[in-house]
Amino acid sequence: MSNDVVLALVIVTGLSFDFTNGFHDTANAMATSIATKALGPRAAVALSAVLNLVGAFLSLSVAATIANGLVSTGLVTLAVVFGGLAGAIIWNLITWLFGIPSSSSHALIGGIIGATLAAAGSHAVKWQGLVSKVIIPAVLAPFIAALVATVGTYLVYRIARSMREGSRRHGFRIGQVGSASLVSLAHGTNDAQKTMGIITLALITNGTLAGGATTPLWVVVLCALSIAGGTYAGGWRVIRTLGKGLVEIEPPQGFAAESSSAAVILLSTHFGYSLSTTQVATGSILGCGLGKKGAQVRWNVAGRMGVAWIITLPSAGLMGAISYFIASAVGGTAGILVDLVLLIGISAAIYWRSRSTRVNRKNVNSDWTGTVAPSRAGVTP
């Protein structure tokens, strides 16, 4: 009986993570379109939300990797899954506060691994699955995306250089609507599945499903709705960093960057690689800056992101481990409830903190002045 309560809490927490995943990652698909004004901010997040919803139904390869490929399902308890999710949510909110496009996927995987290590030790982690399906794709994907976007940007500018400025801008803005839509769809196929995988893992842990089972439909539906809701909420802070902070983007560049992201993410989904869509998008945006002569890439912003990428897995892991320790020290359902109260408190504090430096759809495109929240003087009407 109490197990069912805990299971329900784990599922709700999982869906909450999926929501943070959605708003943290709206930027991946839409930052460049919003920056080049190919789409209005409100239309962009709505379109992205709908396509994330659709994308979530397209594939289950990545969910299978997460549910069965990372940790020994026999050694994991619901408290472990809960601890991992709590760690992932907190790390996602912290990076969002600073407007850093860190990987929601790594936060989730880090949190789960951290809690598993704390609970059962290193033999419960399938290191080979972790390295081959998560770590290596994580290291390679941004470089591949940057390469593809650099080549794409170079080709596009070379082909279109004789076009009139006005019609070129107009044409590629239309192209961007298509390419950004594909990134949203691809995001749904890859990221929505990660939470599906975790909830499936929780169901297997609880004995509701047999080991190696595939994801039930109701889990797919709930996860699809959560990530779409989060996407619609729009993580304006991260959108601003990606769209304005890294590179000043023109429509042909945005188009090339999005095409590269969409291709790399969809291919990785195809192979069951749970890669970070955030890192792919960032790699692509850097590439579109490299592929155009004279484009300015703000390497200091890129460097800060790089640091965040490296520390995301261990940091989320540490937070996952801490929340597992708290839950197990108190013990049982009460322990999970204590964790839950802490999680809600910390989330509320971070949200409250974010309100003093607000970024929303009105100031998301203000000129980059070195910080996430535009200074009042820098706000353009």
Binding site: L147, V148, S162, G171, S259, A263, L267
Partner: protein, 87 residues
């Protein structure tokens, strides 16, 4: 070693990624350029118009856009087919 890193998959992602992620945008750009090529007796209405009215340009553009759309459709089809266990 090959169980830790799937080189074939990496290689495929790079090659197909370049074809789809850089090749298709290039094709779209060719289409836009062909579409915008000015034809005989064309009167410019606005600076950001897309159609130039060239007799050769329009079919070339149509072919480019059709290939791009077909490739996207095929790509999504493959992901869906392989993503639900029907390998």
């Amino acid at each position: 070693m090959s169980s830790w890193i799937d080189l074939r998959a990496v290689w495929e992602i790079v090659v197909v990624g370049l074809l789809a992620g850089a090749g298709l945008p290039a094709l779209f750009a060719i289409g836009l350029r062909a579409l915008g090529t000015p034809g005989k007796g064309h009167v410019k209405i606005s600076d950001d118009e897309l159609v130039g009215g060239s007799r050769a340009g329009i079919p070339i553009a149509a072919a480019c856009f059709a290939i791009v759309l077909a490739a996207i459709g095929y790509g999504i089809y493959i992901v869906v087919i392989s993503g639900h266990g029907a390998k």
